[in-house]
Amino acid sequence: MGINLVGQASKKEVQNKRLTSVLKRTSFIVLAVYFVALAFVFGVKVLFSRKDASLVLEGQNLAKQIKVLSASETLLNTVKNRTALAGKIIDNSPQAPEKLLVEVISMLPIGAKVIQVDAQPDNFNVLIETPDSKTLTQIFSAITASQFTSIELSSLNLTDTGVYNASLNIR
């Protein structure tokens, strides 16, 4: 029994040739597109590099111009440095010892005397002498009506001479 394979082989060959041709063409098209994309990437790269270089140059020019103005910047830096330090030092709170001292003393009525004061940033103690209880009451009224956050009467004495000694812790 004989089998003729020649006819089939030619058909396959034709099909193969066609397939090969399509594949080849497609591959070259893909390669061409790839090269175009590659060229585009290179183009973008060149553009970006130029832009980068021009910005670097612009920055260098600005830096030079700022260096010329460095005297003003130094002065400004000095002022800012000093104000930052002063901001930490200057105590604008009403708890400052001298402010409490002035405020308490300004409340004292005639006849009252300051015998002793111990004023520190976190503690203010004052010993007041009054000739009578009326003056003492006036002092207490004035102090309680003030803006102090804490008032503590630590001691109250009536001496042999008839004067009152009141010790107050104020904050």
Partner: protein
Amino acid sequence: MIGQTFNQNRPLSQSLDTQGLKTKTRSFWVPLSIFFVITALSITVLGPQTQSIFDTREHIVQLQQDNRVLVDKKNKLTSIDKSLLTRQARIAVSAIPVESSGLAALATVRNKAFSSNITINQLRVSEGESSEKDAAKEVRLQFEISGSLSDLLKFIDSLSKAAPLLRIASVKMVGDGVTISTDLEMKTFWAELPVSLPPLNTPLNQVNKKDQDLLGQMNNLKAESLGFVAPASASARENPFAPY
């Protein structure tokens, strides 16, 4: 015989298969080569170039930002009133001097005490320690003073308005209601000037409202002149080093 035929045919069929495979794969050689070329180019050229583009883009964005800051800084520095800034710097340095302010503070205390009828009995000056690196350095002044209550209050009030900056640390008063003896502890401050300017691309911090207020307070502080020390009177002896 059958076995022989089988053995003879085997190499023939193998050669036919190889031939067929070659024929079949030949059509893929070109696409495969192109695929390999594209892959190789992608790895060696396209990938690094694309990465480089992204890096450059990031760099460009950063540069644009920096340049904007620099332009803003330049414009601000150009528009600054230099004479006003010089005056402000002078006021600020007068309040917090560049060198130890102990001597200037002593002069202030002495002059203020004199003008407030206060007697200074003892005076001690010591350098304080600052805990923070960038904080102002402290000089502590401790003195005993005596006078009337109103004079003492006047004295304390005048010190709070004097340059260099003086802060009261503690006040201890003991008195009979007429004359009061006071132990006063004060602090005065000094700090070296900044040695370097901030980095170029740091935005410029201008004098703001808070700084203006502080400068206003510092401007109200009055500096006292150090005065002079009277020279000692001349000795009656011609040669003070000669033996008696």
